[in-house]
């Protein structure tokens, strides 16, 4: 089934782009790994979004309803085909255009190929988790993982939860948990009030966001959640599962302050240290990637590979509103370019202005939310830093100190860290930090592991018969 535009990722960016393009006559195939639309943000439980009285959150709910209705309308009109549960493993450039290769089915073993004239990469990001002693214990989850448990398909996390790490996600996650009736023992954030003060100007320039943050904080206080700014988790304790965490205050240099360590009993620790963009599909296509920051794009959200656009967190972490703005611009640019005309950026001037402001805001947040400068010092040699291959911090340090590894690639080669099932998507930042070298984006030509028989077979049919 050939299509004009294949959009990969049905989060805010992919949805905004699909709707903007379809409204301008483009035939869109929206491919997403999840069972329903929404991406990381709108897939979240209603409890996380639907605080009916809080105005900022209400606004998000309205936006989602509008997107959902827009998508449904275009699907009904046959302009958009939504392929759910389709995991894209590669996008191939061919002589006639682009082919999106996906896997579907319960075991992700059925190949599906979608041929398109243009592709939008709207694959979002994933959570960064840095290692610390005890982080591999059952009961330690990512912040997003804890949030997902609330969806109702899984049990509500039992007993007491500590939310820890750094980044703008911790606040909504803690709020969501508390609002759902979970006992949140503490919110441990390594950024401190003085970090916010330093960036007060830029933060104040985004009043909507500030209000959102304040609302979250107010709700936490109402739920009697203890907020511990400028604190960090030193260690997670437990025999076969989590029983408690030790937290400590940080000094101005980012080291734990002696004498401030204390134990907080808990059954779940939700940790996150910000997000990283998914860039593998873009990387394999040959698109320029800006280090770990994301896929490089121009003002129209075009990558430097002809026919390939990128929008949302794949191009840099910045929140749902920014993803929407970028997606919208990408959709309009694609519609114009596919019809052979150069788009007129004045038509989306307002959106472009908001995109610029949101990007400035997220740059500011990057300055505010940073893991403690010396976090890697807390990782003792026995701590497993790569879970798939069970590589300990001591092994990584030895590769650097005794075997002459000077960069992440060599560390991986010599220790196997990052070579397992997750292909370094989880452990790379931690391994790089412990090794003392610069982190690099995870790269593999296969964004998903692909069965060899699927690889061996040239795809016969174009797209699923059902559509």
């Amino acid at each position: 089934m050939p299509t004009d535009l294949a959009v990969i990722g049905a989060g805010p960016a992919g949805l905004a782009a699909s709707i903007a393009a379809a409204a301008r006559g483009v035939r869109v195939t929206l491919v997403d790994a999840a069972p329903s639309a929404g991406g990381q943000f709108y897939r979240q439980p209603a409890t996380g979004l639907g605080a009916r009285r809080a105005q900022a959150l209400h606004h998000q709910w309205r936006t989602w309803t509008r997107l959902r209705e827009g998508l449904d309308r275009h699907i009904a009109a046959g302009r958009v085909t939504h392929l759910t549960d389709h995991h894209v493993w590669n996008v191939e450039r061919t002589s006639t255009g682009l082919t999106v290769h996906a896997l579907s089915g319960p075991e992700q073993e059925t190949p599906v190929a979608v041929r398109a004239d243009a592709v939008l990469l709207a694959t979002g990001g994933y959570e960064r988790v840095l290692p610390f002693p005890g982080w591999t214990l059952p009961g330690v989850l990512t912040a997003g993982g804890a949030q997902a448990m609330l969806k109702g398909t899984l049990v509500v996390p039992g007993g007491r939860v500590v939310v820890a790490g750094t980044g703008p996600l911790l606040l909504p996650v803690a709020t969501g948990l508390a609002a759902a009736g979970v006992a949140v023992a503490a919110l441990v954030e390594s950024a401190g009030p003085e970090d916010f003060a330093r960036h007060a100007g830029a933060l104040a320039a985004q009043p909507g966001k500030a209000v959102e943050g304040a609302l979250y904080t107010a709700r936490l206080l109402r739920h009697r959640v203890r907020i511990l700014p400028r604190h960090t988790v030193l260690e997670a304790h437990g025999d076969d599962r989590l029983e408690a965490v030790t937290v400590a205050a940080l000094d101005p240099a980012g080291r734990p302050r002696p004498g401030t360590a204390r134990r907080i009993p808990c059954d779940t620790l939700a940790v996150g240290h910000g997000m990283l963009p998914h860039t593998e599909l873009a990387d394999t296509l040959g698109c320029r990637i800006d280090g770990v920051a994301g896929v490089a794009v121009d003002d129209e959200q075009r990558t430097d590979v002809p026919g390939v656009w990128a929008a949302g967190e794949a191009t840099g972490i910045g929140g749902a509103a920014l993803a929407l703005a970028e997606g919208h611009i990408a959709g309009r640019s694609i519609a114009a370019r596919l019809s052979g005309t150069a788009p007129d950026p004045r038509q989306w001037e307002r959106v472009a202005r908001s995109r610029a402001a949101l990007r400035r805001f997220s740059t500011t947040l990057d300055g505010v939310y940073a893991p403690p400068a010396h976090w890697a010092d807390q990782v003792d040699d026995a701590t497993v830093v790569c879970r798939c291959e069970e590589v300990r911090a001591g092994t990584v340090r030895e590769a650097v100190g005794r075997l002459g590894a000077g960069d992440l690639r060599t560390v991986k080669l010599l220790t196997r860290a990052g070579m397992g099932w997750c292909q370094g998507r989880i452990c790379t930042p931690g391994v790089a930090g412990v090794a003392g070298c610069a982190p690099t984006a995870a790269r593999s030509p296969f964004a998903r592991p692909v069965p060899l028989d699927v690889l061996a077979r040239e795809p016969l049919q174009e797209g699923p018969d059902a559509c």
Binding site: G286, L403, G404, T410, L414, F446, L452, L455
Partner: protein, 368 residues
């Protein structure tokens, strides 16, 4: 890898060695390929002699470093799927036996004793018990460490220092000069550039290779297994893509599926058709692999010389300059012999093998 082996044998011969690399240890092709130490794919001749010498030295090193470098004396099995292929394979094996290689003909009905998961319908094969395997990056790193050479990583060689009489007296790097009466050029695929810094030509070209890496599996492929066409591909002069399948398990669990060969310059872009061809070849040999998932690929550029032989030995055009490069798809295997021979001539002794076929200036003379 080759530089590491030169450093080790030179240091053990009593020389003071500095190892200079612009990247980290194993940052070149060594970190991008497989670690087969093969005699099976070599026709009788100078390369096979170098391979046999190298294997002996690898076995010695294994006593010292075996587990650290994931040394596995697992043997290789070459299979044929058609009678003509088998005849050619058995013919080659007979010649190799005459040259001192252990090679055992295996009839079709015994193949599965060696490799229980092989596809049915193969016509037969040859077992090469001497084929071995190491993990190349670990091997390079541990040889460097064992050599105790001064390791100067992150330093790019930007010039070769010469005396007024023309003798080599060290190298210039972006972080200072390193003085030495002898300089060994072990810059792999980039050796031509280093040779040019000394004012001599060395025709080293890149030959791209992809390796597919699967998810970790319990051991099911016991030997290094490949199809008989592989030997033809290795020896081929064609620039076009060749993808005879080579399948092997690793100590760490993943199965490696190699190895494509194509001459496309230093093009790093992923090629799905190459990956498809490798997957197709591997699943034909081992049907169980059909359901196994590919996780990633390696990509590297073999240092390739027009006559498929490395350059090993002194360069008469620049006294004091030695070359140890151009090993194409066998630089891991051939590194120990190369390092050993280089150390012998650096020490003023007679090399154990005749170096005439490996003379670095041989192409220039041909051109004359």
């Amino acid at each position: 890898m080759v530089g590491a082996a030169c450093a080790l044998y030179a240091a053990r011969a009593g020389l003071d060695v500095a190892l200079v690399d612009r990247g980290p240890v194993a940052g070149g092709t060594t970190g991008a390929g497989e670690g087969n130490l093969l005699v099976s794919d070599k026709e009788p001749g100078p390369e096979l002699e170098l391979a046999l010498l190298s294997l002996r030295l690898w076995d010695e090193l294994a006593d010292e470093l075996g587990p650290a470098v994931e040394y596995e004396p697992k043997g290789g099995v070459v299979v044929a799927s058609a009678p003509e292929g088998l005849a050619a394979l058995e013919g080659l094996a007979a010649e190799q036996r005459a040259a001192g290689v252990e090679a055992v003909d295996v009839p079709a009905n015994r193949l599965r004793d060696l490799e229980p998961h092989l596809a049915p319908g193969l016509t037969g094969g040859v077992l090469y018990p001497q084929d071995r395997q190491v993990m190349p990056a670990l091997a390079a790193a541990h040889l460097v460490r064992a050599s105790r050479a001064r390791l100067l990583t992150g330093r790019t060689v930007t010039g070769v220092l010469r005396t007024r009489q023309g003798a080599v007296r060290g190298v210039r790097t972006d972080r200072g000069d390193v003085h030495a009466p002898a300089v060994v050029n072990a810059a792999g695929t980039w050796s031509g550039e280093v040779a040019a810094l000394a004012g001599v030509t060395l025709p080293v070209l890149p030959r791209r290779g992809f390796v597919l890496v699967t998810e970790p599996l319990p051991p099911r492929v016991r030997h290094k297994v490949y199809a008989a066409d592989y030997v033809a591909d290795v020896a081929s002069d064609s620039a076009a893509l060749q993808t005879s399948p080579v399948v092997e398990g690793t100590a760490a669990g993943p199965v490696l599926i190699g190895a494509s060969r194509e001459r496309v310059g230093f093009d790093r872009s992923f090629s799905l058709p190459v990956a498809r061809a490798l997957a197709a070849g591997a699943t034909r040999l081992f049907p169980f692999l059909e359901q196994v998932r590919a996780m990633r690929t390696y990509l590297g550029f073999r240092p390739y010389m027009p006559d498929h032989l490395p350059a090993v030995g002194p360069d008469p055009r620049a006294p004091g300059l030695y070359h140890a490069c151009g090993h194409e798809g066998a630089g891991i295997g051939l590194s120990t012999g190369t390092g050993h021979l280089i150390a012998q001539i650096l020490g003023g002794g007679r090399p154990e093998l005749d170096l005439t076929p490996f003379r670095p200036e041989r192409f220039e003379q041909e051109a004359v």
